[in-house]
Symmetry: C2
């Protein structure tokens, strides 16, 4: 990878240069220690450049039309004089070993718009979960003047929790369906959602979509409001007919305003930062400790015995921690 | 604390002596290193003594009638020739600094029954959460021949997740109510529940309870079934009129049988053991590392700067891990 100076990155971001933005994200994702050093400097310089942005996480089962929605919704936002960045997050990408094919093809109009920036999930990022650098990529996008940063989950599983830990507004996208069809929604994801958008509310499905909305509202009504005082909203939308974008944006804007007024918007970002810090420190500690051969051997051996029922959890923990004590003394 | 030998504990548990059981739980909760050594030995000896037991977690907002239910349900189970242990879990007890007042008074009949054992939340247990020893207390109860171990959440907050991590069946108790009244239920808790029991389904409230049940079933119908294939059930009950205990027990027994047949019952206990091991090791590592003054100082300082926005998470993590590297080398 060609190396650039800190000033190159800072100037480029300030002048909203998306080529530099792309390089900065690549730098942050790099596992080379010299790159990491520069990345730390860069990230520290652009701190606090983001109070005006809104970070939106979008999830939904494959086929629900997330890409078409983001394509249409992103174009709508650009008409409202916003600049829109789209990041994809995929904790499984280490397994597939490559970038998500066709991200730019999927969002053809948006990807050609100079007010938009689309970043496919990087093949360079190792390890999903806690070592994922999407959080840093968000900060870089904001430093490059993007007002709206959309983080899209790709694949299924634990990415929803990860995305939720770094966005302001979490949007769940579903398609019209009766109760049985909606069974793909995990309750835990429903719980995270600030808004549910029923896509494909057009043509033959328009009526079904309305019924889905009222079913969902009834179901949501049974549950406790979140601690923030925000009640999950449900909106209809058709990416095909470019219908409902304004309503979705209004929902997000109202959420943002309400959270600003009760002080929870920035509080949430601070809390997210602190738990992100804790997670990364814990992860780093574990990596350093388990890179010690003796310790990793003890952990593996005792873990196997806990699994087979030969060793109690209590005794296994003691054995591992005794070894750590030896290493540290 | 008077000290006893390993054989004293083992013989006592084998002969189902509840005085010895109480002392064994106290031993396991002790933070003295000699006690911890003996506790490890004891826990390792009683491993695998529990395949026939069922562990039931019970949660619900204060006033819903958990104690009356456990009193009645426990007595019902004893009539079915079961021995019933009741443990209370309260991660906030470190703050209140004492045992839950009146646990035995709340369950007067049950506490007098020789086939029952009630353990109030111990004032001796330090730190809630990961350092909590309720999981070990369950194992000791099982070693003392208790077939049914009920773990009751006391207080509100994170205890539900903790209880869920150590039981086979998670039961949410609510009272009859319309949609609005049910708003006290957090979606996340709803997600964990294998069964929901509507208590106080008697007298004037019997009709309302039936409607609550159908409302709940409709709501649950909208969500995905759990990975285990078990669909959350809803049962009516009146602790006052001793009504519904058989149905609740049937639900739990069916769950147990189904999980045994698909192999998930023991698998879940193994998984619980492994994550409990991981949590305790991680917690122990953090305790050892942060007991180093220099490191805890760096963590505290950088954490403060992350909070105030002076330092990026990335840079803060690097600073902490550099210090760890120094300590380990």
């Amino acid at each position: 990878m060609k190396r650039f100076t800190l000033d190159y990155y800072l100037d480029g971001l300030r002048s909203k240069d998306t080529v530099v933005l792309a390089r900065a994200i690549t730098l942050v994702e790099s596992s080379r220690s010299t790159d990491q050093y520069l990345a730390d400097q860069l990230l520290n310089e652009i701190i606090n450049n983001n109070a005006q942005s809104i970070r939106i996480g979008i999830t939904g089962t494959p086929g629900v039309g997330k890409s078409s929605f983001i394509e249409g919704f992103g174009s709508f936002l650009i008409q409202q004089h916003k600049r829109v960045a789209v990041l994809a997050i995929d904790p499984t990408s280490q397994r597939t070993g490559g970038s998500i094919l066709g991200d730019k093809t999927r969002m053809e109009t948006l990807s050609k718009n100079p007010q938009a920036y689309i970043r496919p999930s990087s093949s360079g990022s190792t390890l999903g979960g806690v070592n994922n650098r999407t959080h840093e990529a968000i900060l870089l996008c904001e430093a490059a003047g993007f007002d709206v940063v959309i983080v899209e989950t790709v694949g299924v599983g634990q990415s929803e929790t990860l995305v939720n830990s770094m966005v302001d507004f979490f949007l769940l996208m579903i398609q019209p369906g009766s109760g049985d069809d909606l069974q793909g929604i995990k309750k835990g994801i429903m719980e995270m959602a600030h808004g549910i958008v029923i896509n494909k509310a057009d043509g033959d499905q328009a009526k079904l979509a309305k019924r889905s909305k009222s079913d969902l509202l009834n179901a949501l009504h049974l549950f406790a409001a979140s601690d923030t005082g925000w009640n999950t909203r449900v909106e209809l939308c058709s990416a095909l007919e470019k219908m409902g974008f304004a309503e979705v944006w209004e929902m997000i804007s109202e959420f943002r305003q309400q959270m600003f007024e009760n002080g929870l918007f920035l509080q949430n970002r601070i809390d997210q930062n602190l738990s992100w810090f804790e997670n990364r420190v814990n992860f780093g500690l574990m990596m350093q400790l388990t890179s010690d051969d003796r310790l990793s051997e003890v952990i593996e051996k005792t873990r196997g015995k806990v699994k087979s029922g030969e060793l109690s959890v209590s005794m296994a923990t003691t054995e591992v921690l005794d070894m750590v004590r030896q290493l540290l003394s």
